[in-house]
């Protein structure tokens, strides 16, 4: 009997220990966070005043020392200079920047999932313009309108990082420019190819490249952020043909499938794929391999951003002369317009972060003139400066493109249409390439998913 009692007591004790252990395990993170967050919160006023007073800056920094800020970005958005600046910030303040990079084709889904589950990083990057809406700014982003560095921002940089009149992102790095078709003039000259000004001439150029054993276009369908550029490239033209285009799309008066320019662009894209202009491996090609493809002479063209030649130089081939490349506008639908991005990539602070003040300190640090200068010098990817008194150095390719287009330029659909999802369009294009969807069906399918999201969001007209 005694033995049984001991057994019972022992089993009760084991169970209780297990429960306590589990609960303690669940709760430990909160406790830990409280420990690190508490000093930061108590020093919050000091951190707020940091921009005005160097002494309080020191006090705030010391209190925040040891804090780690998780910084999420797509893998190609962060380069050596970003890491150097983060390191300098760490040395100065003791606040550690921990970069969390995701593959380019997965970043958007990963970061959205993290934010939606409340596990978002302290700082995350986003495209600007209407793409900021993807991350639900009012819920997930800290209002940065009253930060000291805002005064030094160019107006367009503020406009394209704002939502409902509040600034939600820091665009210190400048506009990521536009997309055009990149090529090597020397290669074209050697093969007697005229720079295309319409789709027919573009096909002619592709045929000549093919005949010379060069795959005409490097297309990387697997990385979903890219293929839709061929369609989006026609959006400035479509807007010129119908100035109310974006308003109509945003109020659901029409869908993408109702815009003839977009339908034609996708039909021609399908034709290009069928003609073999993308080569054999376009379904599994990835962006990272594009640098090699565009430097070793195996491929002739790529639709890409204007800063790309500098990117090849910094990321892949140091001795490359970026000026060997030039650009012309996306030739589908005989387009001669240039489609501008709203402002490239920006940085946002997660509204649910426990280290908002430290993140703001990091933004202040990045906005210092000497750091902005360093960024522009060592990361020559920005075609237009977002910061007053800083001059960007656009590539020759970008300048050539702008010269061709003159004043024929406008913001693209990606930056202007609500719930535009380039990844979705690219994914549907894969199905178009395999013959399971037509160009029109791609856009109808995209419209249907876009309408579902807009309806969920309660956007008027949907």
């Amino acid at each position: 009997m005694k033995k049984q009692l001991v057994k019972r007591l022992l089993s009760c004790a084991v169970c209780t220990t297990m429960v306590i252990g589990m609960l303690a395990g669940c709760g430990s993170k909160t406790e830990e966070n409280k420990d690190t967050a508490a000093p930061a919160e108590s020093e919050a006023p000091a951190a707020d005043a940091a921009t005005d007073d160097a002494k309080t800056d020191d006090a705030g920094s010391k209190a925040s020392a040891g804090v780690t800020l998780n910084f999420a970005a797509s893998q190609n958005w962060i380069q050596d200079v970003d890491r150097d600046l983060a390191k300098a910030f760490e040395e100065e303040t003791g606040i550690i920047i921990n970069f969390q990079l995701s593959p380019d084709d997965q970043y958007q889904t990963i970061i959205k999932s993290k934010l939606n589950t409340g596990e978002g990083p302290d700082i995350f990057m986003s495209y600007s313009g209407t793409k900021l809406n993807d991350f639900n700014p009012e819920k997930n982003m800290v209002d940065l309108s009253n930060e000291a560095w805002v005064a030094n921002q160019e107006d367009w940089a503020i406009q394209t990082s704002s939502y409902n009149g509040k600034l939600y992102a820091q665009n210190i790095a400048g506009v990521d420019d536009t997309n055009g078709v990149l090529y090597q003039p020397a290669m074209f000259e050697e093969l007697g190819i005229k720079v295309p000004t319409n789709y027919a001439e573009f096909k002619e150029a592709c045929d000549k490249l093919s005949a010379a054993g060069i795959t005409p276009v490097y297309e990387f369908v697997k990385d979903l952020w890219h293929t839709h550029y061929w369609m989006e490239g026609a959006s400035a033209l479509a807007l010129a043909n119908d100035p109310e285009l974006y308003n109509k799309l945003n109020s659901n008066q029409i869908g993408f499938a109702d815009v003839p320019e977009f339908v034609t662009a996708l039909e021609q894209l399908q034709e290009m794929e069928k003609a073999g202009y993308f080569g054999e491996n376009h379904m599994s090609n990835i962006y990272d391999n594009s640098y090699e493809a565009m430097t070793d002479g195996k491929y002739g063209m790529i639709i890409i951003h204007g800063s790309y030649p500098n990117e090849i130089q910094t990321q892949f081939k140091e001795d490359l002369d970026p000026d060997i490349y030039s650009m012309f506008p996306s030739p589908l639908v005989d387009n001669q317009y240039v489609t501008l991005t709203a402002g490239g990539t920006t940085k946002c602070i997660n509204a649910n972060s426990e280290h908002i003040d430290e993140a703001k300190q990091f933004f202040d640090f990045l906005a210092r003139p000497e750091n902005v200068k360093k960024l522009y010098e060592e990361k020559p990817l920005y075609m237009q400066s977002a910061v007053k008194d800083i001059t960007a150095a656009p590539t020759k390719a970008f300048t050539d493109l702008m010269n061709i287009c003159g004043d024929k330029k406008a913001a693209g659909a990606e930056a202007s249409v609500l719930f535009y999802d380039g990844g979705k369009i690219s994914e549907l294009c894969q199905e178009m390439f395999t013959g399971s969807l037509t160009a029109k069906q791609v856009l109808e399918e995209f419209d249907s998913s876009r309408r579902a999201l807009a309806k969920d969001a309660g956007v008027e007209g949907f």
């Binding site: 889904t109 369908v221 491996n281 379904m283 599994s284 999201l453 969920d456 969001a457």
Partner: protein, 288 residues
């Protein structure tokens, strides 16, 4: 039976509480939420009834995903079992490198699916991947293919990786089952002049039924719930040819459509239950 040897009924209390709190309540909440338009951008939640389920079962794009998932689950289950059993039979015999080979074949089970995915991405690479290099080296360059980018081979390529990854686990379960078979039966069969095939068919397989059942159920559930391997290797592409239920649930959730993704999750849960219980029932009959 000695009633005193049975654990007192209050012992069920703690597991029951944990089960209710961590499984039953979330499941019923999921059921309730799958009938709403709960999403990331709108704070208001509206009841939409069975609309999400109607969308799932009337849209052929989602039906295709269900078909892909079933193909994946069934194909991996069959091959993992057949190959695993073959390996177990081979490695159940006495020979020098037996333990080393068992370890080697079991090794992939211990690796993270993400790491395996990254390794096989390189192996399948159309330009410099081992598979194509090998084919070119033996003069079969014409068969070299964009394994993960070709719509005809992508799903098969992912299935092969999953089989490679988990065949060792099946093998281990079968080895355990084989070792539990009494030598007497096999000796008796030998004396009766049974051939190897007859011994396998009439002695070993019937005795292995519990191992077969557990392998079938585990593999089917793992197959229906696959996510990480597909996510790394193809992310559902090309052209959704490798899209499975879990990748769609993940993508819908990421886009902020919580209600819809919960409904898809529920569909997957019901599928898994039907298949798992179906197999268990069928196998229980066999065992009887």
């Amino acid at each position: 039976m000695n009633q005193k040897k049975i654990y007192p009924s209050y012992f069920i209390l703690l597991p029951l509480v944990l089960y209710v709190v961590f499984f039953m309540i979330p499941s019923f909440m999921g059921l309730a939420l799958s009938t709403t338009d709960w999403n990331a951008v709108n704070d208001q939640i509206h009841f939409v009834g069975l609309q999400h389920f109607i969308d799932i079962f009337t849209n052929k794009r989602y039906l295709l995903v269900i078909v892909n998932t079933l193909i994946f689950a069934i194909a991996t289950t069959i091959f993992k079992n057949v190959i695993g059993l073959g390996m177990a039979l081979a490695l159940n015999k006495e020979f020098k490198t037996r333990n080393l080979l068992r370890t080697i074949f079991f090794f992939p089970v211990m690796l993270s699916p993400l790491i395996i995915g990254l390794v096989f991405k390189s192996i399948y690479n159309p330009d410099y991947g081992v598979v194509n290099e090998f084919l070119r080296a033996i003069g079969l360059g014409g068969l070299a293919n964009d394994w993960l980018g070709n719509i005809n081979t992508a799903l098969v390529a992912v299935i092969i990786v999953e089989i490679w990854r988990l065949v060792g686990q099946n093998m281990v379960i079968y080895i355990a089952g084989l070792q539990a078979i009494s030598e007497d039966y096999l000796e008796a069969a030998d004396i009766d002049g049974a051939s190897s095939w007859q011994k396998l068919r009439y002695v070993i397989l019937p005795q292995l039924l519990p191992s077969i059942t557990i392998n079938l159920v585990l593999n089917l559930i793992a197959g229906l719930k696959v996510f990480d391997l597909v996510f790394v290797l193809t992310n559902g592409g090309p052209a959704r040819k490798t899209e499975v239920l879990n990748t769609v649930i993940y993508k819908e959730y990421s886009s902020g459509r919580y209600g819809f993704s919960t409904a898809m999750g529920l569909v997957m849960f019901i599928f898994t239950c039907i298949v798992a219980f179906g197999v268990l029932r069928a196998m229980a009959k066999e065992e009887d």
